[in-house]
Amino acid sequence: MPRLLRTLGAASLVAGVAIGTLNDALPQRTAIRSGEYWVLAGDFHVHAFPGDGTLTPFALRDEARRAGLDVIAVTNHNQFVAPRLIPWLPADSGAPMLIPGEEVTHAAYHLIAVGIDRRIAPADSVPEVAAEVHRLGGVAIAAHPGHMFSGYDDRALAAVDGTEVARAEPKEKYRREFFEAFERARRLNPHVAAIGSSDFHSSAPLGDARTYLFVREPSAKGVLDAIRAGRTVGADDRGQLFGDPSLVERVRANMPAARTDPHPWRRQLSVVLAWCGAAAMIL
C-alpha cells in the first residue's frame, strides 16, 4: 500500500509540475508611453534568497514578470549577498530589470537603498545613511515609516528621495501613518517620491503594492532619475494611488497591465496535484 501510494504520489507530482510549467507562459510587457515618458511598474522592497526571502533572484525575475512589473530592487536586511547574484543571471531582453539594493536595518529606522554596489552599514541617523546611499549613486527610500520607527524625524524625511506610502498593510492605523509620513516629507521636499512596495519575503504576491514611474529611458539610470525627481505614483493593494495629482491622473488614464493569470484554475490544479503528490510520497 505505501508503495502504491508513493507511485501515485510521484505521478501526481509530475502531472502538477507539468501542468504548471505548460501554463506558465511568461507575459510579454508592452511599453507604455505617456507624453515624453515611459511608464514603468516597479517594486523596490523585495527580499531574496540567500537572505530572508524564499526566492532566488533568478526566480524573482520570472515572478516579477508574472506580476506585471518592469523593475524590482533586491533589498535584504543589512547584507548584499543576493544582489551580487544579479549580474550572473542569464540575459533576457524581455525580462524585468533587477536593481541591487539593501534594506539598511537599524532599531530606529529601516531605509531602502536602491542602486548601490556594496553593503551599507546602518549608522545612527537616517541622514548619514542617505548621504552614503547618494555617494554610491543610489536613492534612499524610507521603509514603512510609522510611529514605531523613531528615526524618521523631519531631518530624516528631508534627507530621503522617497517614502513608502502605499503598502498592503492590514491595519488602517499603519496605512494612515505611512500617508502622514509621506505628507510630512512632501512639505519638506515637494519632489519626494511616492513609493508603493510589497516588502515581499515568502508569501505571495510580489508587487501587490507597487510604484509607477515616469522614466525618460527604460533603464536602471532612468528609474533612479525618476525617483530622484519624484516622478512616481505609489499604488496600494486596493488600487489607491498616491503622489503628484497630475501624475496620478496620467496613471489612471494609462495604467500598465497588472498581474496576469489567464488560466487560474490550471495553476490551482497544478498546485493541488504537486502538493498532494509530494505529501503522498513523503507521508
Binding site: R6, P50, G51, F200, S202, S203, S270, A278
Partner: protein
C-alpha cells in the same frame, strides 16, 4: 498500512527496534533517498508559498537554493551517528533511519502554505511559532533513535540529542540573525511585534 516514516513518527522506539533487526545495508545513493524527499518537500512548498504556482523552473531553483538546509542536516546527522561507538547498523543504514524520523519537520514544511496564509498573523511569526511543534516531536524520535539504532544508554541518548538540538538550533538562529539584519534588528522587530499584537 503506514509508511516507515509515519510509523517512526508515531511509535519511534518499537519501529526503530524492528528496523534495526532487518539485515540490510543500503548503498549511498539509497541512503540519500529519504533526505531527497525532504528537499522535494522544500522545492514544492517554496514556490507554492512565494508564487502560488509550481513550475519546473521554480521547483529546480528552489531545490538548488534550499539544498543548503539539507546539507546542514546531513552534516549534523553524520556527526551524531559517527560519534557513537556502539552503533548497531552500518553508516548508510544509520543515515537512512535518521531521516526516517524526519516526518515532523517534513509535515511542517508541507503545511507551511497553510500556516502562512493568515491575513492577521505575519508569515514569519507564524513560521517561528509553529516551528516549536516539529522541534519537540523530533526530540522524542531522536532519543529513541539514539537508544535503539546507536545503542546508547538512556542518559547518553538524552545528552546526544540535546547536543544535536543545541547545534542545529544555534545554526538556525545564526542564519536567521544574519538574514534578519543582526541582533538589533531582531530585537526591534520583536518589540514591534509585541506592540502590534
Amino acid at each position: 498500512m503506514l509508511s516507515i516514516n509515519a510509523r517512526v513518527a508515531l511509535a519511534p522506539e518499537d519501529t526503530y527496534r524492528q528496523l534495526v533487526s532487518e539485515v540490510t545495508q543500503p548503498r549511498w545513493w539509497q541512503a540519500l533517498a529519504r533526505p531527497a524527499l525532504v528537499l522535494l518537500a522544500l522545492a514544492v512548498v517554496v514556490p507554492i508559498m512565494a508564487a502560488g504556482a509550481v513550475t519546473a523552473s521554480l521547483v529546480l531553483t528552489s531545490a538548488v537554493a534550499w539544498s543548503a538546509v539539507l546539507l546542514i542536516q546531513i552534516a549534523a546527522a553524520l556527526v551524531t551517528i559517527g560519534s557513537a561507538a556502539s552503533r548497531r547498523v552500518g553508516l548508510t543504514r544509520a543515515l537512512d533511519l535518521w531521516f526516517a524520523g524526519h516526518l515532523p519537520y517534513t509535515a511542517w514544511i508541507l503545511l507551511l502554505p497553510l500556516i502562512t496564509a493568515s491575513h492577521t498573523i505575519w508569515p514569519l511569526d507564524a513560521i517561528a511559532v509553529t516551528f516549536i511543534v516539529p522541534t519537540v516531536w523530533t526530540t522524542f524520535i531522536a532519543t529513541a533513535y539514539c537508544r535503539t539504532v546507536l545503542g546508547t544508554t538512556a542518559g547518553g541518548a538524552r545528552s546526544r540529542v540535546a547536543a544535536h538540538q543545541v547545534v542545529t538550533l544555534t545554526v538556525t538562529a545564526a542564519l536567521t540573525l544574519w538574514a534578519a539584519g543582526g541582533i538589533d534588528a531582531v530585537a526591534s522587530y520583536l518589540l514591534r511585534t509585541l506592540e502590534r499584537s
